[in-house]
Amino acid sequence: MTESTWQLLLDSLWPLIHGAITGTIPLALASFAIGLVLALGLALMRLSRRRWLSSIAQVYISIVRGTPLLVQLFVIFYGLPSLGVVIDPWPSAIIAFSINVGGYAAEVIRAAILSVPKGQWEAAYMIGMSHRRALTRIILPQAARVSVPPLSNTFISLVKDTSLASLILVTELFREAQQVAAFSQQFMALYLEAALLYWLICLVLSSGQGVLEKRLDRYVAH
């Protein structure tokens, strides 16, 4: 690598980090937060004794998991305008990613709720709790511990998937890299630099997962 390539990498570092701070990270955080709320609702619908509620959730999850995220993104950003619904790049990206996370995380949360022993529900009912209270005070806190590792996976995938938003004109890490690369014609260097930054973000997230697991582990035998 020539000295000018090093200089380019150094010069482009700030725009890329800026793209991560103003694009990738807020996009991932917002979509994950909305997606989790959606996922909890869908998981409870899936577990509902009412068949129609469960069916709706099942169809939703099936569609989300059965179609590419890129296609979902394009339907919302490029497809909906033909129906007269025009949504800006940012909200389009957040909508698509939230819907996607909702589908995947719903199955994680459902499995986590089912993993809590039936005796916990019974003890909660025994002390007089309603279904809702048993869920929020007894079952979900225990399900949370179980779902941290798989939900961390979902979040890490999401961080990387936000690069797809570059294709609907959202300025984030990868789009910055693309722009510098196109201008300088140094594709290999720039895309490797982008890859390195994604990796660093995910390393931080993984260590965050470790901390969270440890915190939630305080009531489990080691």
Partner: protein, 275 residues
């Protein structure tokens, strides 16, 4: 016929009256028709082979199972303020939604269960386990509940474990917390579902001793147990359940020594001479 028919103390009013209780799981009729009454301050022990339905009876009394037919009547702690509540299951058709929420709530209010596998909340400390029901559900003042909870824990020798999590306790300690959790709800009726059968043999004694003390204090209890010696000592009445019916019931000393029914005799024989 009810287990208290031959109870010498007829003056005590029935705290619990069960009539014609039926329950099926699919095609399997677990309870054919169960009748029993328990007078205030009395202890009824349910014995019988596994699958006989005795645990299902207990679970119906706490609303964990909704019976298909029959009635459960339970009176409150104080006759003046707690009118008897009756649940008629024939109207409910075995569905939770068929029983008025309030009625089911009252049933749960008045009875408290101690589980075979303790079922303590693993994410809560010992003290939190005990206080959860009184504070969160019954909305009693936290300070008052805490003082009462600590006194109860102290009493069962677990005062120092107040801030421990269940996984840090032995099975016997966990079960004593389970009993304290039930007591803290201030129920009128205590239900025990094989409270010692998950315990290591050397830990059984502490738990049985505690239950015996509670019986002596006048708590009304229904106990599902395999501990015949314990039933003989603690129970005012023993009922032998088999095939979803109460085959025979009576004074524990009398019945366990001299069972009238062939099935009871066989069951007792198997328990006394397992091999």
């Amino acid at each position: 016929m009810s287990p208290t028919d031959r109870n010498p103390d007829q003056s005590a009013p029935a705290l619990l009256t069960v009539r014609g209780l039926q329950k099926s799981f699919g095609d399997n009729q677990v309870l054919k028709s169960i009748d029993l009454t328990v007078a205030r301050g009395k202890v009824l022990a349910l014995i019988g082979p596994s699958g006989s339905g005795k645990t299902t009876v207990l679970r119906c009394l706490n609303g964990l199972e909704i019976a298909d037919g029959g009635t459960i009547e339970i009176i409150g702690a104080d006759d003046a303020t707690h009118a008897p509540v009756t649940i008629d299951f024939a109207a409910a058709h075995g569905s939770r939604s068929g029983v008025p929420k309030k009625t089911l709530g009252t049933l749960r209010d008045r009875s408290a269960m101690v589980f075979q596998h303790y079922n303590l909340f693993p994410h809560k400390t010992v003290l939190e386990n005990v206080m959860e029901g009184p504070v969160v559900v019954q909305r009693r003042p936290r300070a008052e509940v805490e003082a009462e909870a600590l006194a109860l824990l102290e009493r069962v020798g677990l005062g120092e474990k107040r801030d421990s999590y269940p996984f840090e306790l032995s099975g016997g300690q966990q079960q004593r917390v389970g009993i304290v959790r039930a007591l803290a709800l201030r129920p009128t009726l205590l239900l025990f579902d094989e409270p010692t059968s998950a315990l290591d043999p050397e830990l059984v004694g502490d738990v049985l001793r505690l239950i015996k003390e509670l019986a002596a204090e006048g708590w009304t209890m229904v106990i599902v147990t395999h501990e015949l010696e314990f039933a003989r000592e603690v129970a005012s009445e023993v009922a032998f359940v088999d095939g979803g019916t109460i085959v025979e019931h009576g004074d524990p000393k009398e019945m366990l020594r001299n069972p009238q029914h062939e099935r009871t005799r066989q069951f007792l024989h198997r328990l006394l001479f397992p091999f």
